[in-house]
Amino acid sequence: MSENIIETNGLTRNYGDICALKPLDLQVPEGEWLSVMGHSGSGKSTLMNLVGGLDRPSAGSLRVGGKDLLALTEDGLARFRRESVGIIFQQHHMVPYLTAVENVMMAQYFHSVPDEAEARSALERVGLGHRLKNRPGELSGGEQQRVCIARAIINSPKLLLGDEPTGNLDHKSTIMVMELLKELRAEERFTVIMVTHNQEVAAWGDRTIYLDDGVLVREERTAG
């Protein structure tokens, strides 16, 4: 039995009257690849943001990697994010005036010290060894997303979060990104939580949970 990297108890997030996430009990064992599905507005991003330390719950408890996120200050959460979490967004969020390798180095800089050689080899690992000096405007959507993956794993996080990382990609690029993530996870052994609208993408995970109106309505294990 492996440890749970994520444990929530009655985790709730309200926006005024809107209850984006109803009291949720969720355990994610270390190393698991969890897919999160549900229709628009069901609370998927809300859950991701809470788990990633980008947002604070309205009620309930939340432990990630043994840390009680509710007890952390703002700067404490920032530290938690740079040390324990890698995040990939749907929009390929890169700093527009920095090159691919500089975008990766920026994450190293916030974490500790930038190391260009290491950043370069991370980009080589995601198959972008030839686009190191290009800025986001000169990269395709799939390539940008691979830069974001390189940046997300550069500090060896325990947890990789993806909020519809393939949402803007075509089928071929999607497969490429998913295969890349699978490879990296095999080497680095991080836990993956991935929000998706795509059944096929969800099937890459070990387990899928379904949210509906902020409630966990169903979960299923992927066959095989």
Partner: protein
């Protein structure tokens, strides 16, 4: 890495950066120029004010008023500690006299003085002393006396005698008389209009007071009185006295002059000294206020430009936060940016401000000034102050950006 982030962010947004740079450079230039000429202006204004009358009066110390000062002591005034602050002086010897001209007789004051006396003091700069120098507002119809028997007459005395330039006036005192050729009629707006002014030597022999002087008017550049200056020197400690003596208060300059004039008492003419001090103080506060306003205006401009670029950059800031940048790290990027711009702005402000100061000095005062060395750090520091003040609000805004809201997926 910080350097790389800053460099690329600069290259990416040259227009925004240039605007901020410009705001800082302007503010720093104006501050530099104002501070650079403030000293000059005070000095020039003080000089200008000196033309509105003497501010120190030297009288015989004998209380009964019968005493005299010695003319031979006068050159010593050019040798005192504050000699460079003394812009002019003139002696007077007064006597009550009866004036007669064309059959009329009137009583009045005959006053012996220097008009334009060439004063040569060994070891000191040659100078011209006398009424003409310390009372430039005197209006003389005609000309100033040149010969020993020439005189100018106050307008109201002239009216009573019904005479004008070219007339002869006989001045009668007990024990003698002297005929003067009137070469000018003087209007001063004051009691001088009741007097006849003639060369000191002539009046001395007329009054049989050779080598004697009744009083001396001194015009000196002084600093405004402050609380320390108002203290009574006799109650001061040695150090305080030294400081007081070495500050050009009107009282310390007066003390200075008193020391070289035997049997004298020198006192400030307070109406003039304090009006002058007040004016100079006001002038300095206006300059300071203008400087502060200029800096405030450019800080506001910096703030506005930064706010605008902050709105544009919020996704990037949100992203940095999302991948774990804390407040300190975000702040150092923005403060680093503004400090670099403000360094450039400060240097340009210094160069620009120096030019501006020179331009003002040339057009307003007809003189050139050398920018003092301390203006450089002043320019840089004022640029930093503008930059920091202008960054406060935008930086707070940046720190409040919530990645979750901005990066909605």
């Amino acid at each position: 890495m910080l350097f790389r982030i800053l460099k690329n962010s600069f290259l990416k947004r040259p227009k925004a950066i240039f605007l901020i740079f410009l705001s800082i450079a302007m503010g720093s230039a104006v501050a530099t120029a104002f501070l650079g000429i403030a000293g000059e202006i005070s000095h020039k204004m003080a000089l200008e004010l000196r033309s509105y009358g003497a501010n120190i009066l030297i009288e015989p110390s004998a209380a009964e008023g019968g005493g005299f000062l010695r003319e031979e002591d006068l050159p010593k005034i050019k040798t005192v500690f504050w000699k460079y602050n003394i812009t002019g002086f003139t002696p007077y010897l007064f006597g009550i006299a009866e004036f007669s001209a064309g059959g009329r007789k009137e009583r009045g004051v005959v006053s012996g003085t220097w008009f334009t006396k060439q004063l040569e003091v060994p070891g000191e700069e040659f100078s011209i002393q006398g009424i003409k120098g310390i009372a430039p507002w005197w209006e003389v119809q005609g000309r100033w006396p040149e010969d020993a028997d020439e005189a100018i007459i106050g307008a109201s005395l002239a009216k009573r005698l019904n005479i004008s330039s070219g007339s002869d006036v006989t001045t009668i005192v007990r024990g003698g008389n002297q005929k003067f050729r009137i070469v000018g009629v003087v209007t001063t707006g004051g009691y001088e209009e009741e007097q006849l002014f003639a060369p000191l030597v002539t009046v001395q022999s007329l009054l049989q007071q050779q080598g004697k002087v009744s009083r001396v008017q001194v015009s000196a550049l002084t600093v405004p009185m402050d609380d320390f200056g108002k203290k009574d020197p006799t109650t001061m400690t040695k150090d305080e006295y030294e400081k007081w003596y070495c500050t050009a208060y009107v009282t310390s300059v007066a003390k200075n002059v008193e020391e070289v004039m035997a049997g004298s008492r020198a006192k400030p003419i307070w109406q003039i000294a304090s009006a002058e001090g007040a004016l100079l103080k006001k002038l300095n506060s206006v300059m300071l206020l203008l400087t502060v306003l200029a800096l405030g205006a450019s800080a506001t401009a910096v703030s506005t430009s930064l706010m605008a670029s902050m709105a544009e950059r919020s996704p990037e800031i949100a992203l940095m936060k999302a991948i774990g940048a804390d407040r300190f790290q975000i702040s150092s990027i923005f403060i680093g940016e503004t400090l670099i711009i403000s360094l450039a702005g400060g240097v340009s402000g210094y160069l620009l401000g120096g030019q501006l100061a020179e331009l003002i000095s040339r057009t307003v005062f007809n003189s050139t000034i050398a920018s003092p060395l301390w203006l450089f750090p002043t320019a840089i520091i004022s640029a930093f102050v503008v930059a920091i003040a202008g960054s406060i609000v935008p930086l707070r805004r940046a720190l409040l950006i919530e990645p979750v809201t901005v990066l909605k997926g």
